[in-house]
Amino acid sequence: MALLEVSNLEIAVATGGQLLPVVRGVSFEVKANETFGIVGESGCGKSLTSLAIMGLLEGSQVRITGGSIHFDGRELTALSAEDRRAIMGAQMAMIFQEPMTSLNPVYRIGDQIVETLRQHRDMSRRQARDRAVELLDLVRIPEPGRRIDSFPHQMSGGQRQRVMIAMAMACDPKLLIADEPTTALDVTVQKEVLDLMADLQSRMGTAIVLISHDLGVIAETCDKVAVMYRGKIAESAATGELFSNMCHPYTRGLLNSIPVVDRDVEWLEAIPGRVPTIDEVLSGCAFHPRCAMAEARCESEDPDKRDVATGHTIRCHFAEVGSA
């Protein structure tokens, strides 16, 4: 039994009296000690999927309209707000792209970690502070006993993201959701933060859902990957399988669009057209206007999910393993 099971998740945005579907039929599962990556471009629904799991869509224009999110034996979509809050921050935690907007600028970082700990654990102020120092040490903040009294603005971007990770890991969560955790960081700092996450995972057995637009980050850190386009999972497989037997024309297009550092490519094979906006109505397969393989059928009929190899699924009428 997987720790997290998302099945047929549907999310819609309420706008101008109508519901626009933004996530459609998304299903995946994540086991303990496993990193599951979701990759895609702006508006593909990857962040909304993660916010839905975390329970952060409450009270917004966005709502879950179907499907289930099963976590550690419980159905999250059916929980009361109070029961959800007990899970959030304790059994599942989240880190975001820009740590400065998640940290409170007027409180010392130690106080913010202590608050998380005391919210979920029966700890004295003293115990929580000691634990906070341990956590800062765990995420490799130098001189944690002194830095615990720093304000967020006194730290670098990489250090702030480490503090966020320390706060997220404070209560030993079973699941960590990381939404573009290194996108705002320089490459050398990105490497340190990704290494840190992998190290913490191997020590604590945490399951991680990693959201990223960067196929390189996904390839280096994830066990399994889902590629999303326009609210649906276009292709999903174990990471090695995906990158060796890439099948869906969108996934291949995405890979070919990336300028690489290891060899010279004269012209990039860009995907024509543009990323669709959420209010555009697209018939058939959402990718067909940009797809080189598209035929008449793609315009009228939305492809169902099908297996092309063990654990390797795609939504495309035509693509097969090795057809590239």
Partner: protein, 268 residues
């Protein structure tokens, strides 16, 4: 390629005063701390480095958006750092900039035609509206857009289209040097590839020289002829693209290259 470079920068310093008040001690941030490089006719030189290394300040100094502290920047033999605004004005046509966020550099109240007409008149490149319109239509086609879009306003376009318009605004003036500062960094991967191909094609076709400022090493390898790696206000290594990416000499360059997450390692 001609032997004299189009741009020769020697020992450029741009410092910012950070502290200082009536009684406080003055301190200086040496954003650009003694760099030298040259760009030949028709060549693309990239300045690559991490945030805060000073790469953007170099571009801003060369376009007189920031005053230099010392040094020399010979453009076609004349030192642009010593020029007063009146002397520099004609060069504003020859040296053009492409920015990261095209929306911030397009006036939201003007149609694309109005935005593109203005510089043509300022620099005396069109005698009439009809002439201007002709040049605009031609340039929009070169950047892959339907000329009819000139009646529309910036908010009606996607990020990729806006950057194409930003590129059209630069190319219509037929500049000699284009300084592109993180020109494709805000774009989605699939759109970034289109815009990169476009910039490369326009550069090749027109023989324009380019200073390409970026933090993205993949993008830099794709677009450049030569690369200068910046770290803390200084250039630590300069060389041909191949040399920098295949046989880097400086430890910082090596560290940058080894930090990039790679897809190839996961392909069985």
């Amino acid at each position: 390629m001609t032997s004299t470079p189009l741009l020769r920068v020697t020992d450029l310093h741009t410092h910012f005063q950070t502290g200082g008040g009536l009684f406080a001690k003055r301190s200086w941030l040496k954003a650009v701390n003694g760099i030298s490089f040259e760009i030949r006719q028709g060549e693309v030189l990239s300045l690559v480095g991490e945030s805060g290394c000073g790469k953007s300040t170099v571009g801003r100094t060369l376009t007189q958006l920031e005053p230099s502290t010392s040094g020399q920047a010979l453009f076609n033999g004349a030192d642009i750092l010593k020029m007063n605004p009146a002397e520099f004005r004609p060069l504003r046509r020859d040296i053009q900039m492409i920015f990261q966020d095209p929306f911030a550099s397009l006036n939201p109240r003007l149609s694309i035609e109005q935005t593109l007409t203005e510089p043509l008149f300022i620099h005396g490149l069109a005698a009439s509206r009809a002439q201007a319109r002709e040049q605009i239509a031609e340039t929009l086609e070169r950047v892959g857009m339907d000329p009819r879009v000139m009646q529309r306003h910036p908010h009606e376009f996607s990020g990729g289209q806006r950057q194409r318009i930003g590129i059209a605004r630069v190319m219509i003036l037929k500049p000699k040097l284009v300084i592109a500062d993180e020109a494709v960094s805000a774009l989605d991967v699939s759109i970034q590839a289109q815009v990169l191909n476009l910039i490369k094609k326009l550069q090749r076709d027109s023989g324009i020289s380019m200073l390409f400022i970026s933090h993205d090493l993949g993008v830099v390898r794709h677009i450049s002829d030569r690369v200068a790696v910046m770290y803390r206000g200084q250039i630590v290594e300069t060389g041909d693209k191949r040399q920098i990416f295949e046989t880097p000499q400086h430890d910082y360059t090596k560290m940058l290259l080894s930090s990039i997450p790679r897809i190839s390692e996961r392909v069985a």
